[in-house]
Symmetry: C2
Subunit: 260 residues, 2 copies
Amino acid sequence: MKKVVIIGAGNVATHLAVALQKNGFAILQVFSRTEASAKKLAELLQTTFTTDLNHIDRQADLYFYCVSDHILGDIIDRFNHTEGLHIHTAGSIPATIFSQKRTHYGVLYPLQTFSKQKELDFRTVPLFIEANNEQNKATIEEIASLISDKVYCINSDERIKLHVSAVFACNFSNHLYHIASELLSESHLPFDLLMPLVEETVQKLKSLSPYEAQTGPAVRNDFNVLNKHLQSLANDPKKHDLYKLLSESIIQTHSDKSNT
Amino acid sequence: MKKVVIIGAGNVATHLAVALQKNGFAILQVFSRTEASAKKLAELLQTTFTTDLNHIDRQADLYFYCVSDHILGDIIDRFNHTEGLHIHTAGSIPATIFSQKRTHYGVLYPLQTFSKQKELDFRTVPLFIEANNEQNKATIEEIASLISDKVYCINSDERIKLHVSAVFACNFSNHLYHIASELLSESHLPFDLLMPLVEETVQKLKSLSPYEAQTGPAVRNDFNVLNKHLQSLANDPKKHDLYKLLSESIIQTHSDKSNT
């Protein structure tokens, strides 16, 4: 049975630790700088925790780093331990962040939007892995395959593109829903009204590509409607500029294709 | 039994006509300038069709205009018939487009993204209605309630805002999926990989507002990741500018709120 230390106690740490434990891994310890978070996750896993990097258990086989990108480097430096396999979970950080400090290392990047309060079937989460050599890659692949049905090997450059694409598809589309909800509230209409439309937009992607599924005034080159909409957003420069740039991008995307 | 003429033979015309027929309305005729489209929809409804505005049946009680916004005015002008109740289905055109040409008129705007090839339960489609007087409004409300469970009365100004919000939530989010699919294909990864993420992003909206559900580097003010992502898009100005503007909008949205 592999012994695991979880470094971090946020959304990714929580979902990953639970999935590992369910599949027979022994979670030795949770580390977080924030005592309340460390304690909460340790209680959920019925294990121990520490808030001191010097007290991290050195007997583990696997160290998973599930912390914010901007503190990862610092934690790797200050937790000075070269044994075991060290795996980070960040989309936009190369595996080589470990290269000067560890012998065995790699990446396991889960492509999903996690919320602590919302349960999620980890088996459906695509995992993207990388390692510093073939043996470590085989080990990480084996671990990943135990907790998810979808495991892919990609390098750090591909992973950053994947992360950017996820930002567009998830973070940015969610922001568009927020803008829509603001516009609706100006007419005293609830966001719920848009849910059938939002869900159908996603359902369509099961039978059509996003290119084929595109609808709306921009793809129809309906400048009459586009101008009316821009006019209605004139007193809200942020929404006006986003409407303009997104419409131009749709028009350009679809004219490019028809010209080729 | 109310007699109906359907003007237009596109996605909205098809789904609306089928829903009306299912609920006991007699579809007398389909008009479309394109013979193939008119014929196809007429065959589906087992009714007659015409491509000549002068041959539209003048015995109908209801005329539904399901045509592109930019030709609606011209069709109203050229189909010179004042009897019956005339209803357009456009999000961004005021009811008053009929005012000089018809006695009884209104709007029935279905908020959904329709594809001819994809069946859809019309009862779940929110319908937004308006009319030139209370009596016509009551008639349109009665018709709408027969074919949908969600009927709302809003005026033309509110409807245009609703349409703009639908463009953000549906058309623009779909374009972001397209951008994501292009980025993935650069790494030879299929768009399918993003589907669990895209679906979970929408599922979250059932328990959280889009504001609460926001995740990603921009809402965390993670400029390290934002700059890496912008750098990775440097050779694609369109995607770069969209990434920048959307991230700035998320940062601004969430800083505004924390300051108030």
